[in-house]
């Protein structure tokens, strides 16, 4: 019955073979080599930095992961989220509550004394717990996203973390069953969860040198970043990634080739939430200032962390994953340089930078650089005459166009 098409034969096997070849890293494009070089440099950073600087830089790794989390759903599928801290908070609180309010009391009750290995296992269980809680949050946002378009979805995503914030207040003392000791109200949880490595007693491995602590935290965080990169890169570079971007372009087209857009949309939200939640959960055990409080996980103004990840991802380039890495570096660099000159104005210059980038560089640094690089190579090979290229559509532009259509639909030119 099957129609004869080029699909004949053992496609699965051929696919695996092709992937394997790709993984051997032959024939890498220049930008990929640059990317690997960059990641390698990140890995070497502890050799250069003082412990204190290193701690500050470790936070940038988390900012990268948070921005990647946002990019997966907003950059790729075009479902703009304005409250991604919702997922971060779920992950961070998730692991803290799992460890401090469930696992540790349970093990204490059983009379188990935890050694380094035991504590590590408990921490890992907490991270898994936090990631799952965040993923559940992804379902919670993803399902309404099926019904809501453009601006309405944006409003819902914006409201979600604020609702969560309120519920931390409401269940500050106790959340039956789920969090017996409560969620800590506006201040957040006071008892920090155990660290993988730390100077204090509350850690799987206790060290007494500051620099050992800083370096260990850096590498654990770096490992988390690599995991996040591998997962998100894998998904977005597989066929699922092209389905994501196709959803951003035209859901009907996706449907018409036998793909279920709803499934992929929810998946994007869940993946994004899980990545963000995972990052936040690891942060609570290995990051700098690893405290599960509202200021860490929502930002001092309750939604600023959500804004920051958007700014980071937009500066770097939406729909690229690596853009988030570059964006976070820019963001941190700008923040510290500007902050050094006018510390009292601290947040304002960074916001200003975000505004400028949004206005003049909407496509983002990475896509612009890639295009220019390609052009440069082609120019050197003599294939094109000039380095200036005519505009091609970008992820950002596509999202914009789609959004405009939705808005037009709502305020209704033709409908009336």
């Amino acid at each position: 019955m099957a129609t004869e098409t080029p699909l004949e034969g053992d496609v699965g096997r051929r696919r695996k073979q092709a992937v394997k070849e790709k993984l051997l890293l032959r024939d890498l494009a220049l930008r990929h080599r640059l990317g690997i070089l960059g990641v390698g440099l990140l890995a070497l950073l502890p050799l250069l930095a003082q412990p204190r600087e290193l701690n500050q830089f470790t936070y940038v790794l988390y900012l990268m992961m948070f921005a990647i989390s946002w990019d997966v759903v907003s950059g790729y599928t075009g479902q703009l989220s304005f409250g991604h801290a919702f997922f971060f908070a779920l992950g961070g609180y998730g692991t803290s509550v799992t460890v401090n309010q469930h696992l540790v009391p349970l093990l204490d009750g059983l009379g188990v004394t935890l050694g380094p290995v035991g504590t590590t296992v408990v921490i890992l269980a907490g991270i898994v717990g936090g990631t799952l809680v965040a993923a559940l949050g992804g379902v919670l946002i993803g399902v309404p996203a099926l019904r809501l378009e453009g601006p309405y979805l944006s409003l819902v995503t914006l409201i979600a973390p604020l609702l969560l914030y309120q519920s931390f207040i409401i269940f500050g003392e106790e959340l039956p069953v789920l969090a017996p000791n409560g969620l800590g109200g506006t201040s957040g949880l006071l008892n920090e969860p155990p660290s993988f490595v730390g100077i204090g007693t509350n850690a799987a491995v206790t060290v007494d040198q500051l620099w050992v602590d800083a370096v260990a935290r850096y590498y654990i965080s770096f490992l988390a970043l690599l995991i996040v990169l591998a997962v998100t890169y894998g998904v977005t570079r597989s066929a699922a990634g092209s389905v994501f971007t196709a959803i951003r372009e035209d859901e009907d087209a996706v449907q018409s080739v036998g793909l279920n857009p709803a499934k992929f949309k929810i998946f994007a939200f869940v993946l994004s939430a899980a990545v963000g939640g995972f990052a936040a959960a690891v942060w609570m055990h290995a990051g700098p200032n690893a405290y599960p409080n509202t200021e860490n996980l929502f930002g001092p103004g309750r939604i600023d962390l959500s804004i920051n990840v958007i700014v980071v991802a937009v500066i770097g380039g939406m729909g690229t994953i690596v853009g988030s890495l570059v964006g976070a570096l820019f963001f941190a660099f700008a923040d510290s340089v500007i902050g050094a000159f006018v510390p009292e104005l601290k947040p304002l210059p960074t916001f200003l930078l975000g505004m400028v980038a949004l206005t003049f560089l909407p496509r983002g640094v990475v896509p612009e650089a890639t295009r220019f690089g390609r052009r440069l190579l082609a120019w050197r090979r003599g294939e094109v005459d000039s380095l200036v290229e005519r505009d091609r559509t970008s992820a950002a532009k596509r999202t914009v166009d789609r959004y405009r259509e939705e808005i037009e639909e709502i305020i209704g030119g033709e409908g009336r």
Binding site: L162, G301, I307, I310, V311, I411, G413
Partner: protein
């Protein structure tokens, strides 16, 4: 006793909702006319509050009476609305996503600027508690004042959009940019007017809101009762872009909020939450709103 409480709550809800309505109307006007969800609207409220504080505070200048504070707040709101449009929004008008994120960032930029200004320049002890006086001596009279003037503003706005040439142009633009251009309306000018009016309303409301709650705060737009978030809820309930819908939405939200807080056990903690829950449910059931246009067709 219970009846008395219900009566009190009802009166409160009626008064407060009027204030919410003028905040939400500004938000919905900007959306209706420009298709822009203005996340910076909350910052406009905060700017109004802060101008009101500056005018009435005795720490500098001269301590002006509160009516001058109201004027200052309204003017500052109008100004910040106009400046935001002219300075930034105008240039990115055709890029909705950029605008969306931009207004988000602009809003936070403004409220952080207020916080820093309050602390470092004006020596306010606590940017979370910026003193702004009530308009009237007693809480009840103050509520009445809020109610009366809010409705007066709403009435003026209705007169404006229905009986003046510019007002009708606003409606025309909100229905179709292209159509309006065809009949010779300067959409640019209309947008500017809309942003200015919306800013003025927000500024006026900011002063009153701070007075009614004892003080303003740099975070007032997103702290309970979170007028920014409430206005989202209101305009979605009423339908994005509909002025009448906003008024209806404001009353629904106002009543829901007041009654939850007063009568649901433990409801005091639910301030700002009940309306959001209501909103989320409503979004899922009827996203186009009570008076929504188009989306459901």
């Amino acid at each position: 006793m219970v009846l008395g409480e219900i009566a009190t709550a009802t009166v409160t809800a009626i008064f407060l909702s009027a204030l919410y309505a003028i905040i939400a109307i500004g938000f919905t006007l900007i959306f209706g006319v420009g298709g822009i969800l203005n996340f910076a609207h909350g910052a406009f409220i905060t700017v109004g509050m802060f101008a009101g504080f500056l005018a009435t505070s005795d720490a500098f200048l001269i301590a002006l009476p509160i009516w001058a504070g109201l004027l200052a707040g309204t003017a500052a709101g109008a100004l910040i609305g106009a400046v935001t449009y002219l300075g930034i929004i105008r240039y990115v008008r055709d890029r909705p996503v950029t605008i969306l994120i931009l207004t988000f960032v602009i809003g936070f930029f403004i409220i952080y600027a207020i916080r820093i200004g309050a602390r470092d320049v004006f020596g306010v002890n606590d940017p979370l508690a910026i003193p702004v006086p009530q308009v009237m001596g007693t809480a009840f009279l103050n509520d009445v004042y809020i109610f009366v003037t809010s409705w007066l503003l709403i009435g003026l706005l209705f007169y404006f959009v229905n009986y003046t040439r510019t007002g009708r142009a606003i409606i025309a633009v909100s229905q179709s940019d292209k159509g309006a251009a065809l009949v010779g309306i300067d959409a640019e000018k209309i947008n500017l007017i809309t942003w200015t009016v919306a800013g003025a309303f927000a500024g006026y409301a900011g002063v009153l809101l701070a007075g009614a709650f004892g003080n303003g705060s740099w975070l007032m737009s997103i702290q309970p009762p979170a007028p920014l978030i409430l206005s989202f809820a209101i305009v979605i309930l009423g339908g994005l872009g509909s002025i009448k819908g906003s008024i209806a939405g404001a009353y629904i939200i106002g009543f829901a909020e007041t009654f939850t807080v007063n009568f649901v056990p433990g409801g005091e903690q639910l301030a700002g939450v009940s309306s959001l829950v209501l909103l989320v449910v409503f979004l899922l059931v009827k996203p186009e709103g009570l008076f929504g246009r188009g989306a459901g067709e």
